[in-house]
Amino acid sequence: MPERRFRVWRGDARGGDFADYTVEVDPGMVVLDVLHRIQARQANDLSVRWNCKAGKCGSCSMEINGRPRLACMSRMNQYAPDETVTIQPLKTFPIIKDLVTDVSWNFEQNRRIAPFKPAPRGKDGQYRMMQKDVDRVQEFRKCIECFLCQDVCHVLRERHRKDAFVGPRFLIRLASLEMHPLDTADRIPAIRDEFGSGLCNITRCCTEVCPESIGITDNGIIPLKERVVDRFYDPLRWVARKLFGSGA
């Protein structure tokens, strides 16, 4: 089996550095397999989060050769045989240890969002929604909460505005509620004032790293920004929308 070289960041909140490892790589292996092999054979205490190993749970988020990725979906054959693969933790969140970061801020943001508030059921006791009316919401609900979009977002990563901006993940969650055919809550003022929709400058970096290929910017954030504009700067259109539906 060919041997490959890796640099893996080791350390904790107090500091750390890259450690070099040489690992035999079998056909079909992904970066997470490599980390497990290092863990089992060379560094038992190497910290890495993972669960499903199939791109469904969003646990093994990290930066591989500088790109935010899921380690379980990063096949080794996409890197040149003589290339040293560099693996480091998400930059936007505080380090706990090695490749594990403290992402608890994200869970706090989710609690701030007004929960789903359904309309009453129909007379037959059923909810009716047409598939074409839920396609968009289902796209948003594909989100596996890997927080790669949060990691790459300039507002959070470079401008450190966690105080004012909720990040792409939670704008998408807000969009999934706002576009849910049964939901009756109004989150538009909060989207502008509390969640900072205006801070997003639409560079689409979040969309680019999304492992679920959700159209975060074009399908989610931009329509939310439009709703905010309609509400606060075009009250006539807002009234029309309320009266005649979203097509107005």
Binding site: G28, A40, A54, C57, P115, Y127, R141
Partner: protein, 609 residues
């Protein structure tokens, strides 16, 4: 070692261990009943194993075929379980699943829709009618996110990345749980009057498995050490279709939805071999020609179901036999073909994560080529033995729900019955725990000696000068279980497994974790070994006791179902001399349920004028 005064303490009426579908549903219920409730989970919230469930949840809503009703769901579940299910649990499940599904919708879940705008339902193995509410092939994600987003506003506490180690009892009743924070390694005591185990199964004891690292049998280990009975542990489900290539992803699940949506199984001679494996019990309800199976796929309601949709035990055994007799695919599986059966856009719409998973991990385009698949350890039908209505185990105050509990599925689980199990029995466990707590005369006390012993055992692993490598013991165990306790079993192999398990227990007694207690993967792995070994031994001993082949348990030295074994369940418990097995006599089934189970389909269908 830390003194007891350093141990962080929290107090709740009810503590739930596990934050998958069953755990979250139990916590929602307990909290709704006005009790102080906490949830402890090993991972971040929303990452539990439920997130990996693909195909759907079974509930007789009758939205797609109005002939369906709870009785037919009940009948299908009993037949799929080879009549070894607990009758009352199968009844409760079939009756309550539709309300639980509609409740999820009310909490924000967005299922795929029928043309009339109702919750759509898909076909699955062993289910007579299209019955699985679903969201493409990511139904588990939808359920866990719905429960998570609803649950965080219900007032219960969630303790993430915290691992439960052992129960603390007071005079035989539950008094609390000792655990540790994964981040710091600091120990924590949860004082609780009732504990609900919702820890899932123990598939990580096998190498080829669809399960994640979390499935280390924690609930089985915790319940066993506290003196509770485990039951039906011999029934481990091998899902017929896991990925087989490349090696590093061997075992990852390929949803049964592929077959529900028309996929067929082929051997290397391109024969649709499942027609050769239709058991007499299902012959009357299964198509016996390709022509009839094709008519079924086109929606002809008079056509019978294709044999690819037989129950999982039947399909897994058939695939194993094809491979063993030299008719397998290049990498030791068989072919699963949907490319020639459905248009590419439909495949991508109905099975998006299968498309993605094969494309990314195996470089196979499932809209153009067949997949290679083979059996993978997927699910435990057995688990903690519980009261059918309250979900309480044989230890007062200890409850269990979901995969961690035994009873609903008997000898073989139908696909789709797991997700519905979680929400039906998760809720009932919440009700059961709340009732128990309200009836308690005095709060139990958590005694210090027990807590000290748990902490000492855990810290020894770090403090030892040298010792065995926890990851290598785990790999060793996976090899042993794969080799000796696989899809077909014999007495000799099972005895060999017991010998190997003794060796692994001795090695585990000397296990050493390098480094500190801070987020230390090796230490976490070392601490998981005890539950993995208890789980493995329980499966092996129960498999030795049951001298017949039924459902997911196949003994080549005792072929075929035997009537005397239909009358009993096998239980496992801790005894002074080690693990003890007991054969438990099953009560006679209630007459009205037996009538439904043995009725013809036609007698049970909803009639339309």
């Amino acid at each position: 070692m830390a003194s007891l005064s350093d141990i962080q303490t929290f107090e709740h009426d009810v503590l739930v261990i596990g934050a998958g579908g069953a755990g979250l549903r139990a916590a929602i219920e307990s909290s709704a009943q006005g009790l102080s409730t906490g949830v402890v989970c090993k991972s971040l919230l929303g990452k539990a194993h439920t997130v990996m469930a693909e195909g759907g949840l079974a509930a007789a809503l009758g939205n797609v075929d109005s002939r369906d009703n709870w009785k037919i769901h009940f009948r299908d579940t009993m037949r799929g379980g080879k009549f070894l299910n607990q009758w009352r649990m199968a009844e409760l499940h079939a009756k309550q699943a539709p309300d639980r599904v509609r409740e999820l919708e009310e909490w924000g879940a967005v299922f795929d829709r029928t043309k009339d705008g109702l919750i759509s339902q898909r076909n699955f193995g062993g289910h007579r009618y299209p019955r699985l509410a679903h969201v493409g092939d990511r139904t588990g994600l939808e359920i866990i996110r719905t429960l998570q987003d609803y649950g965080i506003h219900r007032g219960f506490q969630i303790y993430m990345e915290c691992t439960a180690l052992e129960l603390v009892l007071d005079d035989g009743r539950v008094a609390g749980v000792v655990g540790y924070w994964r981040e710091t390694g600091r120990f924590v005591l949860f004082k609780a009057k009732a504990v609900v185990l919702a820890t899932g199964g123990g598939g990580r004891a096998w190498r080829v498995t669809s399960n994640s690292w979390e499935y280390s049998g924690d609930g089985y280990g915790i319940a066993y050490e506290a003196g509770a009975d485990l039951m039906d542990m011999e029934f481990t489900q091998f899902h017929p279709t896991g990925m087989v290539w490349p090696p590093s992803i061997r075992g990852i699940l390929v949803t049964e939805g592929v077959r529900g949506d028309g996929g067929i199984l082929l051997n290397n001679k391109r024969e649709r071999f499942m027609f050769n494996y239709i058991p007499p019990k299902f012959a009357a309800e299964t198509a016996d020609t390709e022509e009839e199976a094709n008519r079924w796929l086109k929606g002809d309601k008079s056509a019978r179901r294709p044999p690819e949709l037989l129950t999982r035990d039947e399909v897994a055994r058939a695939i194993t036999r094809e491979v063993n007799e030299g008719r397998g695919s290049p990498h030791g599986g068989v072919f699963l073909d949907i490319a020639s059966r459905q248009p590419a856009d439909l495949i991508k719409r109905k099975l998006p994560s299968m498309y993605h998973q094969f494309k990314e991990l195996a470089e196979v385009d499932i809209t153009r080529e067949a997949m290679e698949v083979g059996p993978t350890l997927h699910y435990f039908m057995g688990g903690v033995r519980v009261d059918h209505d309250t979900q309480m185990s044989t230890v007062p105050g200890l409850f269990a729900a979901g995969e961690c509990a035994a009873g609903l599925h008997g000898a073989n689980r139908l696909g789709g019955n797991s997700l519905s199990d979680l929400i039906v029995f998760g809720r009932l466990a919440g009700v059961g725990a709340a009732d128990y707590v309200r009836r308690l005369a005095a709060a139990p006390r958590a005694h210090d000696e027990k807590i000290t012993a748990v902490v000492r055992r855990a810290t020894e692993i770090l403090n030892r000068e040298s010792g065995t490598n926890p990851f290598l013991i785990q790999e060793d165990l996976q090899g042993v279980m794969g080799r000796y306790v696989g899809i077909v079993r014999t007495e000799g192999e099972l005895q060999a497994a017991l010998g190997e398990l003794e060796r692994l227990k001795a090695e585990t007694a000397r296990v050493k974790a390098q480094g500190t207690s801070q987020y230390n993967a090796g230490w976490h792995q070392a601490l998981d070994l005890r539950s993995l070994l208890i789980t493995s031994e329980a499966v092996t001993r129960a498999a030795l006791v049951r001298q017949e082949s039924r459902g997911a348990h196949t003994r080549t030295d005792f072929p075929g179902e035997r009537d005397e074994w239909l009358k009993v369940n096998v239980a496992v418990r801790k005894a002074p001399g080690g693990m003890q097995t007991e054969v438990l006599r099953r009560p006679e089934p209630p007459k009205e349920l037996a009538e439904i189970a043995f009725a013809t389909i036609e007698a049970l269908e909803v009639k339309h004028a």
